[in-house]
């Protein structure tokens, strides 16, 4: 069964249609790349999947659970907006009402993380003034349970949990190769290290699916190679990977499958070899130039 199924997904910004009826699916353990010219809607796909933007129409099913569900009547949409905007003073009440009515839940980005999707950003969004370790600990947050009372009384359970969080964060850093810099301020790291730290932070949420938005942007060749290696290692740990990338070396080198987007629609879907030979892709995406591999 597919891990992620996107079915005729569309997203409008005002009059602009950023994604137009996109469908694709992703099997567990796969590395899938989305490529396409600038403005093709790649990042928007990521933002819809991770709950940052609501979709206009279409469905996304992740791990058998609906993430995005837009087949609803106007009245339902109004109700949903009302519930969201009022926030609901009683926790979980809007969710409860929606579930009663058989409507899909309101998923915010953190709910999507809870379901098992973690992401990185196209422009690096670390917590720049915090240390490397603290950055990674952010990913551990949602599995923690300690609250204000536990912290105030410093209960043994809280202390155990803190120690576990730190130890696991260190493990992630060792995995990604940043363990020697864990007390440094994230802002002071070299660019390539910041990229890696963002991946480590996303991994710390223990995702089933890791969504990487141009991880190789700004990296030199050696760093790019190291990144490919890292991505493979992450996959070998059982994490499925969805990738946006411009660097063709990286894309062709590690992808099991590639989807090509142009103007919000899918124009090709296949293995790297197939994509390189696809006439549509060469015409639409690479234009007149030679395919550069």
């Amino acid at each position: 069964m597919a891990l992620l199924e996107v079915h005729s997904l569309s997203k409008d910004f005002g009059g602009l249609r950023a994604i137009d009826g996109l469908s694709f699916s992703l099997s567990p353990g796969e590395i899938l790349s989305i490529i396409g010219p600038n403005g093709a809607g790649k990042t928007t796909v990521f933002n819809v999947i991770t709950g940052i933007y609501p979709a206009t129409t279409g469905t996304v099913v992740f791990d058998g659970q609906p993430l995005v569900e837009t087949h609803e009547r106007r009245s339902e949409r109004v109700l949903r907006r009302l519930l969201t905007s009022l926030g609901g003073w009683i926790p979980k009440l809007p969710e409860l009402i929606l579930a009663r009515l058989g409507m899909a839940p309101i998923l915010r980005p953190h709910d999507v993380v809870e379901r098992g999707i973690a992401r990185t950003f196209q422009t690096i969004r670390l917590f720049p003034r915090l240390t490397v370790l603290e950055n990674v600990m952010a990913g551990e947050h949602h599995r923690g349970r300690a609250g204000a009372l536990g912290a105030l009384l410093r209960l043994p359970s809280e202390r155990d949990e803190e120690r576990r969080i730190v130890e696991r964060a260190i493990q992630r850093l060792e995995f990604i190769g940043l363990a020697d810099k864990l007390n440094e301020i994230a802002h002071n790291l070299a660019y390539g290290d910041q990229r890696r730290l963002e991946i480590a932070r996303a991994l710390a949420t223990d995702p089933k699916l890791l969504v990487l938005d141009e991880p190789a942007a700004g990296l030199n060749e050696a760093e790019g190679l190291a990144l490919m290696e890292t991505i493979r290692r992450i996959r070998d740990k059982g994490v499925t990977i969805l990738l946006i990338e411009h660097d063709m070396k990286v894309v062709m080198g590690i992808s099991d499958r590639i989807i090509v987007l142009d103007d919000g629609t899918k124009i090709a879907d296949g293995t790297p070899i197939e994509i390189q030979q696809d006439a549509n892709v060469i015409a639409a995406y690479l234009g007149e130039e030679e395919v550069e591999v």
């Binding site: 933002n47 905007s85 196209q122």
Partner: protein
């Protein structure tokens, strides 16, 4: 019905004052993304300076009241405009890159300082404008008891002129275009050859100058004021700016009128609806309106929802 129309006219006049003060807030917010808490007190300084001039230097010219008030208004506008520029130079410019908290403290500090000076100059008493000022102007009777006093016609006219003039200035002139560019992005504007500091200074001249004008108008309309005027009225004008969608000139005008009319209506009809102390709750209306609108429209009525670029 007649009371309703009359209240509507009164509300419009007050709304006009709110709108003119709100323009100052909204312009500053547009270019600096800063809540200029000192704006209310600058506006109050306008009332104060108008009072000072009319009771001393211009006391002899009161026979020609319209001309005297006009000259006073222009002098006050220039003075308050320069004051605004000074405050921007001293209190805001050094903090432009210092995060979000520091400028707020600095603005509040400037407001306190202005208020303290005004309190001491006015000796913390209610002060009155010369009596009978502009009361001789012809009234306009619409029907029955409904009508506009000459003063109201003048005030509404000036407000309308200011709003339209400012709107055209911002939309049609080169400098106005530069202002809009600066409000979108300082760095890009700088790359396009716009002198950002000068534009900000200009905004800090125009905004407070309008505040000064509104100050003189309010002094003339109500006749008396004290040094706390700036805070109360200024805050409400700021709320008007937010109601309409801050950074947006038509929004500030719309917000001003909504606020003015709702206040007048609640005071007029509150007792009929069971709100015994309607006038005591008058000040709360602005706040309640603000919260109600922001819950449903987080960026105000005409404000655009800006999706964060990810």
């Amino acid at each position: 019905m007649e009371t309703f129309l009359q209240q509507l006219i009164n509300g419009l006049t007050i709304g006009g004052f709110y709108a003119v003060v709100a323009l100052g807030y909204t312009m500053v917010y547009g270019v600096l993304k800063l809540i200029n808490f000192a704006h209310g007190d600058m506006f109050m300084w306008g009332t104060l300076a108008g009072w000072g001039l009319l009771t001393t230097v211009f006391a002899g010219l009161l026979d020609l009241d319209l001309i005297a008030v006009l000259i006073v208004a222009i002098v006050v506008m220039a003075f308050i405009g320069l004051l605004g520029m000074t405050i921007e130079r001293v209190a805001y410019r050094p903090l432009r890159s210092a995060g979000r908290l520091s400028p707020i403290i600095s603005a509040l500090g400037a407001a306190f300082a202005l208020q303290a000076v005004a309190r001491n100059v006015s000796e913390a008493r209610w002060r009155t404008y010369p009596e009978g000022l502009l009361k001789e102007m012809p009234d306009l009777h619409l029907s029955g008891t409904v009508g506009l006093s000459g003063l109201q016609i003048l005030m509404l006219g000036v407000c309308a002129a200011v709003m339209i003039g400012l709107y055209l200035f911002v939309q049609r002139t080169r400098i106005g275009t530069a202002m809009r560019a600066v409000s979108l992005d300082h760095n890009v504007s700088r790359l396009m050859g716009i002198n950002v500091d000068r534009i900000i200074s200009l905004v800090f001249f125009i905004g407070p100058a309008l505040g000064g004008l509104a100050g003189v108008m309010i002094g003339t309309y109500y006749g008396s004021f004290n040094f706390t005027l700036g805070w109360v009225f200024g805050l409400k004008a700021f709320i008007a700016a937010i109601l309409g969608g801050i950074g947006n000139i038509p929004g500030a005008v719309l917000g001003g009128f909504i606020l003015g009319i709702s206040e007048t209506m609640v005071v007029a009809y509150g007792p009929d609806l069971g709100l015994v102390d309607a006038s005591a709750w008058k000040d709360a209306i602005a706040y309640v309106l603000l919260i109600a609108i922001l819950i449903t429209r987080p960026t105000g009525i005409l404000g655009e929802t800006v999706a964060e670029k990810v």
